[in-house]
């Protein structure tokens, strides 16, 4: 971890590299888009903290309005970072599988509203035991698989008995259901509504089945950036677990109402032959799970490879590459990139305005 932080007022051009910068205007714009869209609708945002891992950004999201007043977290230790940063409600969109982690979640429930996702009776037992031991109430939602074949119940019939089990378990409170979905490629608005709407219809089937079994469903938590608008037009969805929209990424650039807010700056350290350069942003500093990052603002320059030693850049000649020159990379998966950094260097109009810790970086427990 580095101990040097740029002072406010430092021009972006003078930042040491590699450096992760966040454009405050773009960030504020993105947060505002969803806050305004949900005004007067039946749906609210539950911002996903896994994307920014920052209580500061969570506070900006909640201040913008039309949120549930809390966040999602992917892990128990991430939820702790959010509660420690002042967040009052956390939905851990993941399964608790060990007594120790359940105890830790129960301890957190003494200070905030805590809801966890379950998809099997074992999770219910672990959470119930921990909640009773700690003398707290833990909320539980059933995770429903609709698109990713990840965790989550696979059949509608699994939901009513699990909901009843939760409702009957002392220390737990059944809150509802959650489901997460992805889409690949560059879908049109019509495709997003069709595919996303289809997923939401399956979520609603589960809701109806649970209600028909006599258990009230208070929370229907589903959708992401690519369906934030679909969710607002789908009666019954109560909250959206949106996260990507905050920083945006190249894979989501069909969502044109949002702007890129996160960038990694690098410096060329070697030009071993014309048209080929090595820069100082390593694979660890940005991550490349969905393909190599894009180069911004240098026509004809692309990333040929990303290694532990740096970025291999190649140019078709339109933009000459020189040692000492700066370059800017745009990630294809923002949350993986943000998890590689200890701090956000926050900039506006080309000047540093603040530095925010990535408080939950590395909190994968």
């Amino acid at each position: 971890m580095t101990h040097r932080q740029p002072l406010p007022g430092t021009p972006v051009s003078e930042l040491d590299t590699p450096c992760l910068i966040v454009d405050l205007d773009a960030l504020t714009h993105n947060i505002g888009v969803i806050a305004r869209r949900y005004e007067g609708t039946g749906v609210q945002l539950r911002p996903h903290a896994k994307n920014h891992k920052s209580p500061v950004i969570a506070a900006l999201q909640m201040r913008a309005g039309n949120t549930v007043g809390g966040v999602c977290a992917a892990k128990v230790s991430e939820a702790e970072a959010m509660v420690n940063g002042g967040v009052r409600s956390v939905l851990v969109a993941n399964q608790i599988a060990s007594p120790a982690k359940a105890r830790r979640l129960a301890a957190l429930a003494a200070r905030a509203e805590v809801i966890a996702a379950v998809d099997a009776p074992e999770h219910v037992r672990l959470l119930g035991d921990a909640a009773r031991d700690a003398g707290v109430t833990l909320g539980a939602v059933i995770e429903v698989n609709t698109s990713m074949r990840r965790a989550g119940i696979r059949a509608v019939e699994q939901a009513p008995p699990l909901a009843k089990l939760i409702a009957e378990t002392a220390g737990l409170r059944f809150r509802g259901i959650m489901s997460h979905q992805t889409i690949s490629g560059f879908p049109s608005r019509e495709e997003r509504y069709k595919v996303g709407g289809g997923y939401f219809a399956r979520v609603m089937e589960v809701k109806t089945a649970i209600e028909q079994a006599g258990v009230p469903v208070e929370i229907v938590s589903t959708g992401e950036t690519w369906t934030y608008d679909v969710a607002a037009d789908t009666p019954g969805v109560t909250e959206v677990e949106g996260g990507t929209y905050v920083f945006m990424e190249m894979g989501y650039d069909y969502m044109t109402e949002f702007r890129i807010a996160g960038r990694v700056l690098g410096t060329i350290v070697s030009v071993p032959e014309p048209g080929l350069a090595i820069g100082d942003v390593t694979v660890e500093a940005i991550g490349a799970p969905n393909g190599t990052p894009s180069v911004e603002g240098m026509p004809g320059v692309r990333v040929r490879a990303l290694t532990h030693r740096g970025t291999v850049l190649e140019s078709d000649g339109r933009t000459p590459l020189r040692p000492g020159e700066r370059y800017t990379l745009l990630t294809h998966q923002q949350d993986v990139t943000m998890n590689r950094w200890d701090e956000y260097v926050v900039v506006r109009d080309g000047v540093v305005v603040d530095v925010w810790p990535v408080a939950a970086r590395g909190r994968h427990h």
């Binding site: 040491d16 896994k50 230790s77 070697s270 071993p272 390593t282 291999v312 040692p323």
Partner: protein
């Protein structure tokens, strides 16, 4: 900052909060000794590439073995600062340092450690020379020879000119020659990796002979990162040191191409089954944010019947290869072998040193995040 549940040294390894980065110390030492033994008699020294683990405690284990060089190699100046602070006084940077701010830091660090910096550009030699003069230090500088298309370095016919340029600068010292090999990729055969290593070494030693004929003293002649041909390189006259990132950790990308047979991975991730949504699928708590899939997917150690079907940011997908029912329950533990150990270390603040079934030490991955 990472915050696992507290487990003290002396505890059983299955008590670790998951996902947990674990180094099996017996395996780490056995792997490292094996390579050190292969080269020891030749007089060539093994310089561990500490970027592989970013952990001073592991670097010191490597440097304590016979056959080790006096220090480590690193990628970034931030890593150099971290390892120097741990007491290592001999460092080799393997990427050029070009910006004024970083050159000033390098000059400052030179007062605490011997840090050799590579160059492939005359303007960079001038910038280093001016800064060193102002700072009142003498920087040891090596000429980086390009022997791999994706790496920095000067073409062989420019090496002599750069060496003389360094030699003439009053505040610089010509330290010798080095070359860096690119990463091993999935499609490379062991023979291809070995041919590349030996070919690069031949270019390097030939440049050394040229320099010496011209009256330049070549201190170091360093090749890295070597994977496949330690014994063959040790027999080549003219090389002084071999750098290697993978030799002690032996990760998934390097294991199939390493010199000889019988290697075991030393770095592994302990992960827990959190969901059993389908008969032949388990979900584990180790995803891309804990192990990375930038340079390949992990495998499940000791379970050739299982495959990692995918990693999302927070989850791993474990399937049976043949679609048969899976014998795992929620709460069960699995060991994952990272494809890229260096990437996995880069995601953790701490690494657990384990011997047998017992946690022996908990160490800071002190250079994690030091991309600077």
């Amino acid at each position: 900052m990472q915050r696992p549940l507290s487990v003290a040294p002396g505890a059983s390894v299955d008590r670790l909060d998951t996902p947990a980065l674990v180094v099996d110390l017996d395996t780490f030492e056995r792997n490292a000794r094996r390579i050190h033994a292969a080269i020891e008699a030749s007089g060539i020294r093994l310089r561990p590439n500490a970027h592989a683990h970013k952990t001073p405690a592991l670097a010191w284990l490597q440097l304590g073995m016979k056959g080790a060089a006096g220090g480590v190699s690193v990628v970034s100046l931030g890593e150099a600062e971290t390892f120097a602070a741990s007491g290592i006084g001999d460092l080799l940077l393997t990427m050029p340092v070009v910006t004024p701010g970083k050159i000033a830091r390098l000059c400052a660090l030179t007062r605490h450690a011997d840090v050799v910096v590579p160059v492939d550009d005359a303007a960079n030699v001038d910038a280093l020379g001016r800064a060193a003069e102002v700072a009142g230090v003498r920087l040891p500088v090596a000429v980086d020879i390009r022997t791999d298309a994706g790496e920095p370095g000067a073409a062989p016919d420019r090496v002599m000119g750069l060496a003389r340029h360094i030699d003439r600068a009053p505040a610089l010292r010509f330290a010798g020659l080095m070359t860096s090999l690119g990463p091993v990729s999935a499609g490379d055969s062991t023979d291809a990796v070995r041919d590349r290593e030996i070919g690069s070494a031949a270019t390097l030693t030939s440049a050394r002979a040229d320099c010496e004929r011209a009256g330049l003293r070549v201190g170091i002649c360093s090749i890295g990162d070597v994977v496949a041909s330690f014994a063959a390189l040790a027999a080549m006259p003219g090389l002084t040191e071999i750098r290697s990132a993978s030799y002690a950790l032996a990760d998934g990308n390097h294991l199939p191409r390493m010199d000889g047979v019988g290697w075991r991975p030393a770095a592994r991730m302990l992960t827990m089954v959190t969901s059993r949504p389908e008969p032949s699928r388990a979900i584990v708590d180790c995803g891309q944010k804990a192990i990375s899939r930038d340079l390949g997917l992990p495998s499940v150690d000791g379970r050739p019947d299982l495959t990692i079907a995918g990693l999302s940011a927070e989850h791993g997908f474990v399937d049976t290869r043949d679609g048969s029912p899976l014998d795992l329950a929620i709460g069960d533990l699995l060991w994952l072998v990272p494809a890229d150990a260096a990437g996995a270390f880069g995601l953790h603040d701490i690494v657990h040193g384990v011997r047998g079934e017992t946690v022996e030490a908990i160490w800071d991955v002190a250079a994690r995040g030091r991309y600077d």
